[in-house]
């Protein structure tokens, strides 16, 4: 069995735990949103855990990611603290952005999260800029850019890939192709079958990977990261994946069938890894149940932390618009 040769127990359990954390976080977020305890809008990544975890675990802590509107998993897997993330979703002072950004905008440069984006596609060239900084500063941290199939039709995507490849920048583009941009099936707005094919137009490798297999995603991203770090330039990776929930919570999903959703649920990445690592003798049902319990407790604690945190004070609404001269900048 390949898995035995390539991985040790600790790593495999880490993959499992991280995917579970992502699912549990978003399951909680979904429940709380439905109960109107979280305001605004949230986009869950339930079903897409393998891309977030497989991708981020191929990075060093000092590397960077660009997250998306569907980015809770990406942020958690990059080292995000579930309590501070949940507090942000609740709009509390203790959140990553002190309640000013909310679900779609978690950012923290200390753990390498250069922000998520409410503007689809806008993060892609920002990631290229981060890679340019690595090159100029000769630090060679890699930037992993997450984006969706929908984002691959923005001008930013194409302009970003062109610059990144022309300048051989240390960046990896990871497309989470979940087939839909809100209701629009990618096949209805794109002629080619695989987004990875677009890499050809920019003279860089384009690779398709199974987004329901965390190890496959991980290996593909790892290779691309090594290539980027070695100064050989960017790679475009397309992971075929699927979101189980609507585009946002409560979205009616009239554009897809229950059968289609079931078909993808049957390929669930967490279940798949669970089976594989038990069969290969790395772990037992009991041990995994223990992890499940710990993760559940972690997320319950995160919710309590968020609920018990204060809202930002009123005067906070006026701060942070500018990094300097804020008061004068806001006054007139």
């Amino acid at each position: 069995m390949v898995i035995k040769k390539k991985y040790d127990r600790k790593t495999l359990l880490r993959f499992y735990r991280e995917m579970k954390r992502v699912r549990e976080f978003d399951t909680k977020a979904s429940e709380l949103f439905t109960k109107a305890m979280i305001a605004g809008n949230i986009h869950t990544c339930i079903g897409q855990e393998a891309t977030a975890v497989g991708g981020c675990l191929a990075l060093n802590p000092s590397d960077f990611i660009i997250a998306t509107h569907r980015g809770h998993g990406q942020c958690l897997a990059k080292g995000g603290d579930s309590r501070m993330m949940m507090a942000e979703l609740f709009g509390r002072e203790t959140g990553y952005c002190r309640g000013k950004g909310g679900s779609m905008h978690i950012a923290n440069v200390g753990i390498g999260i250069l922000g998520a984006n409410g503007i689809v596609g806008a993060g892609i060239p920002i990631g290229v800029g981060s890679a340019l900084a690595s090159k100029i500063l000769k630090t060679m941290e890699v930037t992993l850019v997450f984006f969706g199939d929908g984002a691959s039709n923005t001008g930013e995507f194409h302009e970003a890939l062109n610059m990144a490849s022309a300048w051989d920048l240390p960046v990896v583009f990871l497309c989470e192709n979940n087939k839909y941009a809100v209701s629009v099936n990618i096949e209805r707005v794109t002629k080619i079958k695989d987004i990875a094919e677009r890499a050809k137009g920019y003279g860089i490798p384009g690779v398709i990977t199974d987004g329901c297999d965390v190890l496959a995603v991980h290996e593909t991203v790892k290779k691309a990261v090594e290539r980027a770090r070695a100064g050989q330039g960017p790679t475009l990776i397309e992971a075929k994946t699927y979101r189980y929930h609507g585009h946002y919570e409560g979205e009616p999903q009239m554009y897809r069938t229950k059968e289609e959703v079931m078909e993808w649920k049957n390929r669930d990445a967490i279940e798949r890894l669970r089976k594989e690592i038990i069969e290969a003798g790395f772990t037992t049902e009991e041990e995994l149940a223990g992890i499940d319990k710990e993760v559940k407790e972690e997320m319950e604690a995160a919710v309590l932390f968020a609920q018990n945190s204060p809202y930002p004070e009123r005067k906070e609404v006026m701060t942070d618009v500018y990094a300097s001269d804020n008061e004068r900048g806001v006054a007139r």
Binding site: G40, V182, G329
Partner: protein
């Protein structure tokens, strides 16, 4: 009379114009299969076909420019930009292309199209999904800009905008989509001319000038002020470009005081433009400085504890009018907004 709400009025205007003019097309993200993310075009793709109701990729600049080209060739596109914030991703198409075609072609080409776009805060959607950006469009010669507040107005104005031969940026406040209040909307066809203000409430002591959702707040404020014996006139300008300054002038000559209310950030907001025109032309009639009640000069925060603090509410309007009347030129304005 029959009553409908704001969203229904928009849907009716779109459907009636689609039936009337087969040159009209609708383009935008999720407009077809889904019937728009706000449910405004449900059933349209079925009725009018995939050629006339087009689901676009996420390419705001691209599809807006595609619509411009189609308009030059005689179609009448109505583009939706899902949130006005995303119009910034298509701003070249709007500002450098659509707005310029008529003039730079010496009037030989025109762009009969509408860019419908929801704007506004209040839904905890944070900084990139909540802005009011009308002033960015009013600043560009060549664009008409409309921002209706009521079901009656939105229907009549949208139909006129669609028939207009210039690019019209048609701003809908997304909170009004969810606003339950219905109003009388006749079943028979009617149009409202672009560039005509509407006095939504008559009064003698002060003129409150507003558009979009702030009209609703202004009317609430006027009702409260009436209880204190202050008679406020509410002028809903409805269309920002062209602007019906005659209605504003006549009102101010009567009331001698003006308060302009908008949700957009105060700095560079369209209220500044109206205030300047008032001071240019009506200085001698004024008993008090022209006041603006507008959004704070900040990014819209997500936190429910913060968002409402920076958007003008009824109370802010009431307080400003009160001080304007009681303090006159020496009024100290205490409200932060």
């Amino acid at each position: 009379m029959r009553q409908i709400n704001y969203s229904k009025a928009i849907t009716e205007a779109l459907r009636e114009e689609m039936r009337r003019d087969e040159k009209m097309i609708i383009m935008g993200e999720d407009m077809g299969v889904m019937g728009s993310v706000f449910g405004l075009t449900v059933g349209f793709m079925k009725e009018f076909g995939e050629n006339r109701v087009i689901d676009t990729p996420i390419s705001e600049n691209g599809f807006t420019s595609v619509a411009i080209g189609a308009a030059m060739r005689g179609l009448r596109p109505v583009v939706e930009i899902m949130y006005v914030d995303f119009a910034m991703a298509g701003y070249d198409a709007i500002a450098n292309q659509a707005a310029k075609v008529s003039y730079m072609s010496g009037g030989t080409l025109s762009v009969p199209m509408v860019i419908r776009t929801p704007a506004g805060a209040g839904r905890r959607s944070a900084g990139q999904h909540s802005q009011s950006l009308e002033a960015i469009f009013t600043h560009i010669p060549g664009l008409k800009v409309v921002a209706p507040a009521t079901p009656y107005d939105v229907k009549g104005l949208l139909k006129s905008a669609i028939r207009d031969n210039d690019p019209v940026v048609f701003i809908e406040h997304k909170s009004l989509y969810f606003y339950d209040a219905k109003c009388d909307v006749p079943e028979e066809e009617y149009l409202i001319e672009l560039g005509k203000a509407d006095i939504k409430r008559a009064g003698n002591d002060v003129t409150i000038i507003a558009w979009s959702q702030e009209v609703i707040h202004a009317l609430d404020a006027a009702a409260q002020l009436a209880e204190e014996g202050i008679s406020a006139e509410v002028v809903d300008i409805r269309s920002l470009v062209p602007l019906d300054f005659d209605t504003i002038r006549n009102s101010i000559i009567k009331t001698r005081r003006a308060v302009i209310v908008h949700e957009a950030v105060k700095r560079g907001g369209y209220g500044g433009e109206i205030a300047a025109q008032i001071s240019d032309e009506l200085f001698d009639y004024l008993d008090a400085p022209v006041k603006r009640v507008a959004g704070s000069n900040v990014v819209i925060p997500f936190s429910p504890a913060l968002e409402d603090k920076i958007i003008p509410q009824t109370g802010n309007i009431v307080a400003t009018v009160r001080e304007l009347l009681h303090g006159g030129k020496n009024a100290v304005f205490t409200n932060a907004v």
